[in-house]
Assembly symmetry: C2
Homo-oligomer: 305 residues x 2
Protein backbone atom coordinates (compact mmCIF):
# COMPACT_ATOMS: atom_id res chain seq x y z
CA UNK A 1 0.00 0.00 0.00
CA UNK A 2 1.46 3.38 -0.91
CA UNK A 3 2.02 5.83 1.93
CA UNK A 4 -0.73 8.41 2.47
CA UNK A 5 0.17 11.81 1.09
CA UNK A 6 1.38 14.19 3.80
CA UNK A 7 -1.05 16.96 2.81
CA UNK A 8 -3.93 14.52 3.19
CA UNK A 9 -2.62 13.44 6.58
CA UNK A 10 -2.35 17.07 7.70
CA UNK A 11 -5.81 17.95 6.37
CA UNK A 12 -7.37 14.92 8.09
CA UNK A 13 -5.63 15.75 11.38
CA UNK A 14 -6.88 19.34 11.28
CA UNK A 15 -10.39 18.09 10.60
CA UNK A 16 -10.25 15.49 13.36
CA UNK A 17 -8.98 17.95 15.96
CA UNK A 18 -11.09 20.80 14.55
CA UNK A 19 -7.99 22.95 14.80
CA UNK A 20 -5.33 24.52 12.59
CA UNK A 21 -3.05 25.33 15.53
CA UNK A 22 0.56 24.14 15.35
CA UNK A 23 2.35 24.25 18.68
CA UNK A 24 5.99 25.25 18.35
CA UNK A 25 8.36 23.51 20.74
CA UNK A 26 11.24 25.94 21.37
CA UNK A 27 12.66 24.76 24.68
CA UNK A 28 14.87 26.88 26.91
CA UNK A 29 15.77 25.42 30.28
CA UNK A 30 15.45 28.85 31.87
CA UNK A 31 11.75 28.94 30.90
CA UNK A 32 10.73 25.42 31.98
CA UNK A 33 8.33 24.96 34.88
CA UNK A 34 10.20 24.47 38.17
CA UNK A 35 9.35 20.76 38.34
CA UNK A 36 11.65 20.13 35.35
CA UNK A 37 14.62 22.25 36.43
CA UNK A 38 17.83 20.20 36.15
CA UNK A 39 19.87 19.79 39.30
CA UNK A 40 23.17 20.28 37.53
CA UNK A 41 24.16 22.75 34.87
CA UNK A 42 25.35 20.24 32.24
CA UNK A 43 24.19 19.70 28.65
CA UNK A 44 23.08 16.16 29.50
CA UNK A 45 20.89 17.21 32.43
CA UNK A 46 19.53 20.18 30.49
CA UNK A 47 18.66 17.89 27.59
CA UNK A 48 16.98 15.38 29.90
CA UNK A 49 14.93 18.16 31.46
CA UNK A 50 13.82 19.37 28.06
CA UNK A 51 12.92 15.87 26.92
CA UNK A 52 10.87 15.24 30.06
CA UNK A 53 9.05 18.57 29.69
CA UNK A 54 8.36 18.00 25.99
CA UNK A 55 6.89 14.57 26.76
CA UNK A 56 4.46 16.13 29.24
CA UNK A 57 3.72 18.98 26.88
CA UNK A 58 2.70 16.74 23.98
CA UNK A 59 0.44 14.73 26.30
CA UNK A 60 -1.40 17.96 27.18
CA UNK A 61 -1.83 19.19 23.62
CA UNK A 62 -2.32 15.92 21.72
CA UNK A 63 -6.13 15.93 22.11
CA UNK A 64 -6.31 19.59 21.07
CA UNK A 65 -4.10 20.21 18.02
CA UNK A 66 -3.08 18.33 14.87
CA UNK A 67 0.61 19.10 14.72
CA UNK A 68 3.71 20.27 16.59
CA UNK A 69 6.81 22.03 15.32
CA UNK A 70 9.97 21.35 17.32
CA UNK A 71 12.65 23.96 16.56
CA UNK A 72 15.85 21.92 16.39
CA UNK A 73 18.15 24.88 17.14
CA UNK A 74 17.14 24.86 20.80
CA UNK A 75 18.07 21.18 20.98
CA UNK A 76 21.33 21.57 19.02
CA UNK A 77 22.32 24.25 21.53
CA UNK A 78 22.94 21.30 23.88
CA UNK A 79 25.03 19.25 21.45
CA UNK A 80 24.57 15.49 21.08
CA UNK A 81 22.43 15.12 24.24
CA UNK A 82 20.17 17.82 22.83
CA UNK A 83 19.94 16.01 19.51
CA UNK A 84 18.85 12.91 21.41
CA UNK A 85 16.20 14.95 23.25
CA UNK A 86 15.02 16.23 19.87
CA UNK A 87 14.63 12.67 18.55
CA UNK A 88 12.82 11.66 21.75
CA UNK A 89 10.47 14.63 21.38
CA UNK A 90 9.58 13.66 17.80
CA UNK A 91 8.81 10.10 18.91
CA UNK A 92 6.83 11.21 21.98
CA UNK A 93 4.65 13.50 19.87
CA UNK A 94 3.97 10.79 17.30
CA UNK A 95 3.15 8.25 20.02
CA UNK A 96 0.41 10.63 21.10
CA UNK A 97 -0.92 10.84 17.55
CA UNK A 98 0.52 14.24 16.66
CA UNK A 99 2.07 15.05 13.32
CA UNK A 100 5.57 16.52 13.54
CA UNK A 101 6.91 19.30 11.34
CA UNK A 102 10.60 19.47 12.25
CA UNK A 103 11.76 23.08 11.94
CA UNK A 104 15.28 22.38 10.71
CA UNK A 105 15.51 24.80 7.76
CA UNK A 106 18.10 22.62 6.05
CA UNK A 107 19.28 23.44 2.56
CA UNK A 108 22.14 21.79 0.71
CA UNK A 109 23.12 20.21 -2.57
CA UNK A 110 22.50 16.73 -4.00
CA UNK A 111 23.98 13.98 -1.88
CA UNK A 112 24.16 16.26 1.15
CA UNK A 113 20.43 17.00 1.02
CA UNK A 114 19.89 13.26 0.66
CA UNK A 115 21.84 12.75 3.91
CA UNK A 116 19.59 15.26 5.68
CA UNK A 117 16.54 13.45 4.30
CA UNK A 118 17.87 10.13 5.56
CA UNK A 119 18.45 11.54 9.02
CA UNK A 120 15.30 13.55 9.50
CA UNK A 121 12.81 11.45 7.53
CA UNK A 122 14.07 7.85 7.47
CA UNK A 123 15.87 7.63 10.82
CA UNK A 124 14.22 10.18 13.12
CA UNK A 125 10.91 9.94 11.31
CA UNK A 126 9.64 13.53 11.22
CA UNK A 127 6.46 13.78 9.12
CA UNK A 128 7.68 16.97 7.46
CA UNK A 129 10.63 19.35 7.64
CA UNK A 130 11.24 22.99 6.79
CA UNK A 131 13.69 23.59 3.94
CA UNK A 132 15.67 26.66 2.77
CA UNK A 133 15.42 27.36 -0.99
CA UNK A 134 18.56 29.49 -1.54
CA UNK A 135 20.47 26.68 -3.26
CA UNK A 136 17.76 26.21 -5.89
CA UNK A 137 15.42 23.59 -7.21
CA UNK A 138 17.94 20.74 -7.31
CA UNK A 139 18.42 21.13 -3.55
CA UNK A 140 14.73 20.22 -3.03
CA UNK A 141 14.63 17.09 -5.16
CA UNK A 142 16.21 14.62 -2.69
CA UNK A 143 13.41 15.32 -0.20
CA UNK A 144 10.71 14.69 -2.80
CA UNK A 145 11.75 11.06 -3.14
CA UNK A 146 10.90 10.58 0.54
CA UNK A 147 7.67 12.56 0.13
CA UNK A 148 6.51 10.16 -2.57
CA UNK A 149 7.70 6.91 -1.01
CA UNK A 150 6.98 7.54 2.65
CA UNK A 151 4.24 10.16 2.85
CA UNK A 152 6.59 12.90 4.01
CA UNK A 153 6.26 16.64 3.43
CA UNK A 154 8.43 19.74 3.15
CA UNK A 155 7.69 23.38 3.87
CA UNK A 156 9.97 25.62 1.83
CA UNK A 157 10.82 29.06 3.24
CA UNK A 158 9.10 31.59 0.98
CA UNK A 159 8.45 34.68 3.13
CA UNK A 160 9.67 34.51 6.70
CA UNK A 161 8.19 36.43 9.62
CA UNK A 162 11.27 38.39 10.76
CA UNK A 163 11.85 42.08 9.90
CA UNK A 164 15.04 41.23 7.96
CA UNK A 165 13.10 38.96 5.62
CA UNK A 166 12.66 42.02 3.40
CA UNK A 167 16.43 42.26 2.76
CA UNK A 168 16.41 39.51 0.13
CA UNK A 169 12.89 38.11 -0.06
CA UNK A 170 11.39 41.46 -1.12
CA UNK A 171 14.02 42.27 -3.76
CA UNK A 172 12.36 43.03 -7.07
CA UNK A 173 13.30 40.50 -9.74
CA UNK A 174 11.88 42.02 -12.92
CA UNK A 175 8.18 41.36 -12.45
CA UNK A 176 7.85 40.18 -8.85
CA UNK A 177 9.70 40.09 -5.54
CA UNK A 178 12.06 37.20 -4.89
CA UNK A 179 9.56 35.54 -2.57
CA UNK A 180 7.12 35.22 -5.49
CA UNK A 181 9.83 33.52 -7.56
CA UNK A 182 10.37 31.08 -4.76
CA UNK A 183 6.60 30.59 -4.52
CA UNK A 184 6.55 29.66 -8.20
CA UNK A 185 9.40 27.20 -7.64
CA UNK A 186 7.48 25.66 -4.75
CA UNK A 187 4.25 25.48 -6.74
CA UNK A 188 5.97 23.91 -9.74
CA UNK A 189 7.93 21.42 -7.63
CA UNK A 190 4.76 20.37 -5.87
CA UNK A 191 2.56 20.13 -8.95
CA UNK A 192 3.86 16.70 -9.96
CA UNK A 193 0.77 14.46 -9.66
CA UNK A 194 2.72 11.96 -7.57
CA UNK A 195 3.02 14.64 -4.88
CA UNK A 196 -0.63 15.79 -4.83
CA UNK A 197 -3.07 14.13 -2.45
CA UNK A 198 -6.78 13.37 -2.63
CA UNK A 199 -7.34 16.71 -0.88
CA UNK A 200 -5.96 18.46 -3.96
CA UNK A 201 -3.07 19.75 -1.86
CA UNK A 202 0.58 18.97 -2.48
CA UNK A 203 3.02 17.60 0.07
CA UNK A 204 5.35 20.44 -0.97
CA UNK A 205 4.34 23.27 1.33
CA UNK A 206 5.59 26.77 2.05
CA UNK A 207 6.47 28.88 5.07
CA UNK A 208 4.70 32.26 4.81
CA UNK A 209 4.84 34.64 7.77
CA UNK A 210 1.62 36.33 8.94
CA UNK A 211 3.58 39.41 9.97
CA UNK A 212 3.29 40.52 6.31
CA UNK A 213 -0.44 39.94 5.72
CA UNK A 214 -0.59 41.54 2.25
CA UNK A 215 2.19 39.29 1.01
CA UNK A 216 0.52 36.35 2.72
CA UNK A 217 -2.69 37.00 0.79
CA UNK A 218 -0.79 37.25 -2.50
CA UNK A 219 1.24 34.14 -1.79
CA UNK A 220 -1.90 32.16 -0.88
CA UNK A 221 -3.33 33.10 -4.28
CA UNK A 222 -0.08 32.29 -6.08
CA UNK A 223 0.13 28.80 -4.53
CA UNK A 224 -3.46 27.53 -4.49
CA UNK A 225 -2.53 23.88 -3.93
CA UNK A 226 0.27 24.48 -1.42
CA UNK A 227 -0.15 23.90 2.33
CA UNK A 228 1.09 26.91 4.27
CA UNK A 229 2.93 26.86 7.58
CA UNK A 230 2.31 30.28 9.09
CA UNK A 231 4.63 31.70 11.76
CA UNK A 232 4.35 35.13 13.35
CA UNK A 233 1.13 34.83 15.40
CA UNK A 234 1.11 36.42 18.85
CA UNK A 235 4.48 37.44 20.23
CA UNK A 236 5.76 38.38 16.76
CA UNK A 237 2.75 40.62 16.21
CA UNK A 238 0.42 38.96 13.70
CA UNK A 239 -3.29 38.77 14.52
CA UNK A 240 -5.79 36.01 13.81
CA UNK A 241 -7.21 38.18 11.02
CA UNK A 242 -3.74 38.34 9.45
CA UNK A 243 -3.40 34.55 9.68
CA UNK A 244 -6.85 34.02 8.18
CA UNK A 245 -5.46 35.08 4.81
CA UNK A 246 -3.47 31.82 4.70
CA UNK A 247 -6.51 29.56 4.48
CA UNK A 248 -8.33 28.36 1.40
CA UNK A 249 -12.03 29.16 1.00
CA UNK A 250 -12.94 25.74 2.42
CA UNK A 251 -10.99 26.44 5.62
CA UNK A 252 -8.13 24.05 4.88
CA UNK A 253 -4.64 24.57 3.51
CA UNK A 254 -2.83 26.16 6.44
CA UNK A 255 -1.62 25.63 9.97
CA UNK A 256 -0.69 28.56 12.20
CA UNK A 257 2.20 28.23 14.59
CA UNK A 258 2.59 29.62 18.07
CA UNK A 259 5.51 28.63 20.26
CA UNK A 260 6.20 30.44 23.52
CA UNK A 261 2.80 32.13 23.38
CA UNK A 262 1.41 28.68 24.19
CA UNK A 263 4.12 26.70 25.91
CA UNK A 264 5.35 29.46 28.22
CA UNK A 265 2.17 31.54 28.49
CA UNK A 266 2.12 30.80 32.23
CA UNK A 267 5.17 33.05 32.66
CA UNK A 268 3.45 36.37 31.95
CA UNK A 269 0.27 38.41 31.79
CA UNK A 270 -3.13 37.03 32.68
CA UNK A 271 -1.92 33.43 32.48
CA UNK A 272 0.69 34.08 35.17
CA UNK A 273 -2.06 35.40 37.45
CA UNK A 274 -4.66 32.83 36.55
CA UNK A 275 -2.55 29.68 36.41
CA UNK A 276 1.01 30.34 37.55
CA UNK A 277 3.87 27.90 37.22
CA UNK A 278 2.27 24.93 38.98
CA UNK A 279 -0.73 24.90 36.68
CA UNK A 280 1.34 25.26 33.50
CA UNK A 281 -0.57 22.41 31.86
CA UNK A 282 -3.86 24.28 32.29
CA UNK A 283 -2.18 27.40 30.91
CA UNK A 284 -1.05 25.52 27.82
CA UNK A 285 -4.51 24.08 27.19
CA UNK A 286 -6.14 27.47 27.75
CA UNK A 287 -3.70 29.19 25.39
CA UNK A 288 -4.46 26.60 22.71
CA UNK A 289 -8.21 27.16 23.14
CA UNK A 290 -7.78 30.95 23.04
CA UNK A 291 -5.77 30.75 19.82
CA UNK A 292 -8.17 28.24 18.27
CA UNK A 293 -11.15 30.48 19.12
CA UNK A 294 -9.42 33.53 17.67
CA UNK A 295 -8.57 31.72 14.43
CA UNK A 296 -12.06 30.25 14.15
CA UNK A 297 -13.63 33.69 14.61
CA UNK A 298 -11.30 35.23 12.03
CA UNK A 299 -11.77 32.50 9.45
CA UNK A 300 -15.46 31.97 10.07
CA UNK A 301 -15.04 28.24 10.60
CA UNK A 302 -16.30 26.09 13.45
CA UNK A 303 -14.55 26.56 16.77
CA UNK A 304 -12.34 23.80 18.10
CA UNK A 305 -14.38 21.21 19.95
CA UNK B 1 43.20 39.42 26.16
CA UNK B 2 40.71 39.67 23.30
CA UNK B 3 40.31 36.60 21.11
CA UNK B 4 42.32 36.61 17.88
CA UNK B 5 40.21 37.46 14.85
CA UNK B 6 39.21 34.36 12.88
CA UNK B 7 40.45 35.76 9.57
CA UNK B 8 43.86 36.32 11.14
CA UNK B 9 43.87 32.78 12.52
CA UNK B 10 42.98 31.38 9.10
CA UNK B 11 45.58 33.50 7.31
CA UNK B 12 48.27 32.47 9.79
CA UNK B 13 47.36 28.80 9.47
CA UNK B 14 47.54 28.96 5.66
CA UNK B 15 50.94 30.63 5.91
CA UNK B 16 52.25 28.12 8.45
CA UNK B 17 51.12 25.11 6.41
CA UNK B 18 51.94 26.84 3.11
CA UNK B 19 48.58 25.61 1.89
CA UNK B 20 45.10 26.92 1.11
CA UNK B 21 43.59 23.43 0.94
CA UNK B 22 40.51 22.75 3.06
CA UNK B 23 39.74 19.05 3.44
CA UNK B 24 36.02 18.34 3.48
CA UNK B 25 34.93 15.55 5.80
CA UNK B 26 31.81 14.02 4.23
CA UNK B 27 31.70 10.55 5.74
CA UNK B 28 29.71 7.68 4.30
CA UNK B 29 30.17 4.29 5.95
CA UNK B 30 29.99 2.59 2.56
CA UNK B 31 33.12 4.49 1.47
CA UNK B 32 35.30 3.98 4.57
CA UNK B 33 38.44 1.85 4.34
CA UNK B 34 37.74 -1.76 5.32
CA UNK B 35 39.53 -1.44 8.66
CA UNK B 36 36.76 0.88 9.90
CA UNK B 37 33.76 -1.09 8.67
CA UNK B 38 31.25 -1.53 11.51
CA UNK B 39 30.32 -5.09 12.45
CA UNK B 40 26.67 -4.27 12.88
CA UNK B 41 24.36 -2.15 10.80
CA UNK B 42 23.21 0.25 13.53
CA UNK B 43 23.43 4.05 13.76
CA UNK B 44 25.63 3.77 16.87
CA UNK B 45 28.17 1.48 15.24
CA UNK B 46 28.13 3.47 12.02
CA UNK B 47 28.75 6.65 13.99
CA UNK B 48 31.60 5.06 15.94
CA UNK B 49 33.19 3.90 12.70
CA UNK B 50 32.96 7.39 11.24
CA UNK B 51 34.40 8.97 14.35
CA UNK B 52 37.33 6.52 14.41
CA UNK B 53 38.03 7.12 10.71
CA UNK B 54 37.82 10.90 11.08
CA UNK B 55 40.29 10.79 13.98
CA UNK B 56 42.80 8.93 11.81
CA UNK B 57 42.10 11.19 8.86
CA UNK B 58 42.83 14.41 10.75
CA UNK B 59 46.10 12.92 12.06
CA UNK B 60 47.19 12.33 8.45
CA UNK B 61 46.27 15.78 7.15
CA UNK B 62 47.07 17.96 10.18
CA UNK B 63 50.69 18.60 9.13
CA UNK B 64 49.64 19.39 5.56
CA UNK B 65 46.60 21.68 5.58
CA UNK B 66 45.27 24.59 7.66
CA UNK B 67 41.62 23.70 7.92
CA UNK B 68 38.96 20.99 7.64
CA UNK B 69 35.26 21.27 6.81
CA UNK B 70 33.07 18.58 8.31
CA UNK B 71 29.70 18.40 6.53
CA UNK B 72 27.23 17.87 9.37
CA UNK B 73 24.51 16.34 7.15
CA UNK B 74 26.46 13.08 6.89
CA UNK B 75 26.62 12.94 10.69
CA UNK B 76 22.97 13.93 11.21
CA UNK B 77 22.03 11.07 8.89
CA UNK B 78 22.89 8.85 11.88
CA UNK B 79 20.81 10.79 14.44
CA UNK B 80 22.11 11.53 17.93
CA UNK B 81 25.06 9.09 17.69
CA UNK B 82 26.05 10.85 14.48
CA UNK B 83 25.85 14.22 16.17
CA UNK B 84 28.19 12.92 18.85
CA UNK B 85 30.61 11.69 16.15
CA UNK B 86 30.44 15.17 14.62
CA UNK B 87 31.37 16.79 17.93
CA UNK B 88 34.20 14.27 18.40
CA UNK B 89 35.48 15.03 14.90
CA UNK B 90 35.59 18.77 15.60
CA UNK B 91 37.53 18.16 18.81
CA UNK B 92 39.91 15.65 17.19
CA UNK B 93 40.75 18.09 14.41
CA UNK B 94 41.39 20.93 16.84
CA UNK B 95 43.57 18.71 19.05
CA UNK B 96 45.77 18.22 16.01
CA UNK B 97 45.98 21.97 15.45
CA UNK B 98 43.51 22.21 12.57
CA UNK B 99 40.96 24.96 12.23
CA UNK B 100 37.39 23.72 11.76
CA UNK B 101 34.80 25.28 9.46
CA UNK B 102 31.60 23.42 10.30
CA UNK B 103 29.49 23.14 7.17
CA UNK B 104 26.08 23.45 8.80
CA UNK B 105 24.43 26.06 6.53
CA UNK B 106 22.14 27.18 9.34
CA UNK B 107 19.88 30.16 8.88
CA UNK B 108 17.14 31.31 11.25
CA UNK B 109 15.75 34.32 13.05
CA UNK B 110 16.84 36.10 16.25
CA UNK B 111 16.81 33.87 19.28
CA UNK B 112 16.86 30.74 17.11
CA UNK B 113 20.07 31.81 15.39
CA UNK B 114 21.46 32.56 18.84
CA UNK B 115 20.68 28.96 19.86
CA UNK B 116 22.59 27.67 16.81
CA UNK B 117 25.51 29.94 17.73
CA UNK B 118 25.49 28.62 21.29
CA UNK B 119 25.53 25.04 20.08
CA UNK B 120 28.04 25.26 17.27
CA UNK B 121 30.36 27.96 18.63
CA UNK B 122 30.14 27.94 22.43
CA UNK B 123 29.44 24.26 23.13
CA UNK B 124 30.92 22.31 20.22
CA UNK B 125 33.56 24.93 19.55
CA UNK B 126 33.77 25.10 15.75
CA UNK B 127 36.06 27.93 14.65
CA UNK B 128 33.65 28.98 11.92
CA UNK B 129 30.34 27.85 10.45
CA UNK B 130 28.60 28.25 7.12
CA UNK B 131 25.38 30.30 7.20
CA UNK B 132 22.43 30.67 4.80
CA UNK B 133 21.45 34.31 4.06
CA UNK B 134 17.84 33.85 2.86
CA UNK B 135 16.34 35.22 6.10
CA UNK B 136 18.25 38.49 5.80
CA UNK B 137 20.74 40.55 7.70
CA UNK B 138 19.13 40.20 11.13
CA UNK B 139 19.61 36.44 10.89
CA UNK B 140 23.40 36.97 10.75
CA UNK B 141 23.74 39.27 13.74
CA UNK B 142 23.59 36.68 16.54
CA UNK B 143 26.68 34.96 15.09
CA UNK B 144 28.64 38.22 14.97
CA UNK B 145 28.55 38.53 18.75
CA UNK B 146 30.46 35.25 18.97
CA UNK B 147 32.81 36.35 16.18
CA UNK B 148 33.79 39.43 18.19
CA UNK B 149 33.96 37.84 21.62
CA UNK B 150 35.46 34.48 20.81
CA UNK B 151 37.36 34.82 17.55
CA UNK B 152 34.79 32.87 15.54
CA UNK B 153 33.95 33.24 11.86
CA UNK B 154 31.04 32.72 9.48
CA UNK B 155 30.97 31.95 5.77
CA UNK B 156 27.71 33.15 4.25
CA UNK B 157 26.41 31.32 1.17
CA UNK B 158 26.72 33.76 -1.75
CA UNK B 159 27.10 31.64 -4.89
CA UNK B 160 26.98 27.90 -4.41
CA UNK B 161 28.64 25.35 -6.66
CA UNK B 162 25.58 23.30 -7.70
CA UNK B 163 23.84 23.70 -11.10
CA UNK B 164 20.59 24.78 -9.41
CA UNK B 165 22.34 27.72 -7.75
CA UNK B 166 21.34 29.75 -10.81
CA UNK B 167 17.61 29.35 -10.01
CA UNK B 168 17.63 32.08 -7.36
CA UNK B 169 21.21 33.30 -6.98
CA UNK B 170 21.42 34.46 -10.62
CA UNK B 171 18.05 36.24 -10.66
CA UNK B 172 18.47 39.81 -11.84
CA UNK B 173 17.55 42.33 -9.15
CA UNK B 174 17.60 45.62 -11.01
CA UNK B 175 21.32 46.20 -11.36
CA UNK B 176 22.91 42.91 -10.33
CA UNK B 177 22.14 39.24 -9.76
CA UNK B 178 20.88 38.23 -6.32
CA UNK B 179 24.28 36.78 -5.41
CA UNK B 180 25.81 40.25 -5.76
CA UNK B 181 23.20 41.67 -3.39
CA UNK B 182 24.11 38.99 -0.89
CA UNK B 183 27.79 39.79 -1.45
CA UNK B 184 27.07 43.41 -0.56
CA UNK B 185 25.24 42.30 2.58
CA UNK B 186 28.21 40.14 3.53
CA UNK B 187 30.71 42.92 2.83
CA UNK B 188 28.71 45.46 4.82
CA UNK B 189 28.13 43.10 7.75
CA UNK B 190 31.83 42.31 7.90
CA UNK B 191 33.08 45.88 7.52
CA UNK B 192 32.50 46.75 11.19
CA UNK B 193 36.03 47.45 12.50
CA UNK B 194 35.45 45.09 15.43
CA UNK B 195 35.22 42.22 12.92
CA UNK B 196 38.29 43.06 10.82
CA UNK B 197 41.64 41.55 11.74
CA UNK B 198 45.22 42.75 11.47
CA UNK B 199 45.34 40.97 8.10
CA UNK B 200 42.76 43.43 6.80
CA UNK B 201 40.33 40.57 6.33
CA UNK B 202 36.98 40.26 8.10
CA UNK B 203 35.78 37.26 10.06
CA UNK B 204 32.59 37.45 7.97
CA UNK B 205 33.41 35.28 4.96
CA UNK B 206 31.54 34.01 1.94
CA UNK B 207 30.98 30.72 0.13
CA UNK B 208 31.66 31.19 -3.59
CA UNK B 209 31.72 28.14 -5.85
CA UNK B 210 34.55 27.74 -8.34
CA UNK B 211 32.21 26.01 -10.80
CA UNK B 212 31.19 29.52 -11.92
CA UNK B 213 34.64 31.12 -12.38
CA UNK B 214 33.40 34.37 -13.96
CA UNK B 215 31.08 35.00 -11.03
CA UNK B 216 33.88 34.00 -8.67
CA UNK B 217 36.16 36.66 -10.17
CA UNK B 218 33.42 39.29 -9.88
CA UNK B 219 32.56 38.31 -6.33
CA UNK B 220 36.22 38.42 -5.30
CA UNK B 221 36.38 42.00 -6.58
CA UNK B 222 33.09 42.92 -4.91
CA UNK B 223 34.23 41.64 -1.49
CA UNK B 224 37.91 42.64 -1.24
CA UNK B 225 38.17 42.12 2.53
CA UNK B 226 36.11 38.93 2.69
CA UNK B 227 37.66 35.47 3.14
CA UNK B 228 36.26 33.05 0.59
CA UNK B 229 35.49 29.39 1.11
CA UNK B 230 35.56 27.86 -2.35
CA UNK B 231 33.76 24.57 -3.10
CA UNK B 232 33.57 22.85 -6.47
CA UNK B 233 37.17 21.75 -7.07
CA UNK B 234 37.72 18.33 -8.60
CA UNK B 235 34.71 16.04 -8.68
CA UNK B 236 32.33 18.97 -9.23
CA UNK B 237 34.37 20.13 -12.21
CA UNK B 238 36.29 23.28 -11.22
CA UNK B 239 40.00 23.48 -12.06
CA UNK B 240 42.82 25.02 -10.09
CA UNK B 241 42.81 27.91 -12.55
CA UNK B 242 39.14 28.51 -11.75
CA UNK B 243 39.88 28.47 -8.02
CA UNK B 244 42.80 30.86 -8.45
CA UNK B 245 40.31 33.67 -9.07
CA UNK B 246 39.30 33.48 -5.41
CA UNK B 247 42.66 34.67 -4.05
CA UNK B 248 43.82 38.19 -3.38
CA UNK B 249 46.92 39.48 -5.16
CA UNK B 250 49.05 38.60 -2.12
CA UNK B 251 47.92 34.97 -2.28
CA UNK B 252 45.71 35.09 0.80
CA UNK B 253 41.96 35.47 1.28
CA UNK B 254 40.68 32.06 0.23
CA UNK B 255 40.67 28.38 1.04
CA UNK B 256 39.65 25.79 -1.52
CA UNK B 257 37.71 22.74 -0.41
CA UNK B 258 37.94 19.19 -1.64
CA UNK B 259 36.09 16.39 0.10
CA UNK B 260 35.85 12.94 -1.47
CA UNK B 261 38.53 13.84 -4.01
CA UNK B 262 40.95 13.68 -1.09
CA UNK B 263 39.42 11.45 1.54
CA UNK B 264 38.18 8.72 -0.76
CA UNK B 265 40.65 9.14 -3.64
CA UNK B 266 41.89 5.61 -2.94
CA UNK B 267 38.62 4.22 -4.27
CA UNK B 268 39.12 5.11 -7.93
CA UNK B 269 41.49 5.95 -10.78
CA UNK B 270 45.25 6.11 -10.37
CA UNK B 271 45.01 6.25 -6.58
CA UNK B 272 43.17 2.92 -6.50
CA UNK B 273 45.97 1.35 -8.54
CA UNK B 274 48.84 3.08 -6.77
CA UNK B 275 47.66 2.89 -3.15
CA UNK B 276 44.51 0.83 -2.82
CA UNK B 277 42.43 0.57 0.31
CA UNK B 278 45.16 -0.50 2.72
CA UNK B 279 47.32 2.51 1.94
CA UNK B 280 44.44 4.98 2.17
CA UNK B 281 46.53 7.29 4.38
CA UNK B 282 49.18 7.60 1.69
CA UNK B 283 46.44 8.25 -0.86
CA UNK B 284 45.03 11.07 1.28
CA UNK B 285 48.44 12.68 1.70
CA UNK B 286 49.22 12.32 -1.99
CA UNK B 287 45.87 13.83 -2.97
CA UNK B 288 46.52 16.80 -0.68
CA UNK B 289 49.96 17.33 -2.25
CA UNK B 290 48.54 17.04 -5.77
CA UNK B 291 45.85 19.62 -5.04
CA UNK B 292 48.31 21.91 -3.27
CA UNK B 293 50.69 21.73 -6.22
CA UNK B 294 47.91 22.44 -8.69
CA UNK B 295 46.69 25.47 -6.71
CA UNK B 296 50.24 26.77 -6.26
CA UNK B 297 50.92 26.48 -9.98
CA UNK B 298 47.65 28.24 -10.83
CA UNK B 299 48.10 31.04 -8.33
CA UNK B 300 51.82 31.48 -8.86
CA UNK B 301 52.56 31.14 -5.15
CA UNK B 302 55.09 28.90 -3.45
CA UNK B 303 54.26 25.22 -3.42
CA UNK B 304 53.38 23.56 -0.14
CA UNK B 305 56.51 22.51 1.72
Amino acid sequence: MPATNFADRLTAACREKRSAVCVGIDPRVSLLPAEFKPRRDTPIEHAQAISAWARELVAVIAPLVPVVKPQIAFFEALGAPGFRAYHETVLAAQEKGLLVIADVKRGDIGSTAEAYAEGHFALIGADAITVNPYLGRDSLDPYLTHCRAAGKGIFVLVKTSNPGSSDLQDLWTGDAPLSRRVAKMVRDAGADPSLVGASGLSCVGAVTGATFPDELRDLRAAMPATPLLVPGYGAQGATAADCAKAFLANGTGAVVNSSRGITFAFRSGTHAERFGEKRWRDSVAAAVYEMGDALAAATGTAKPA
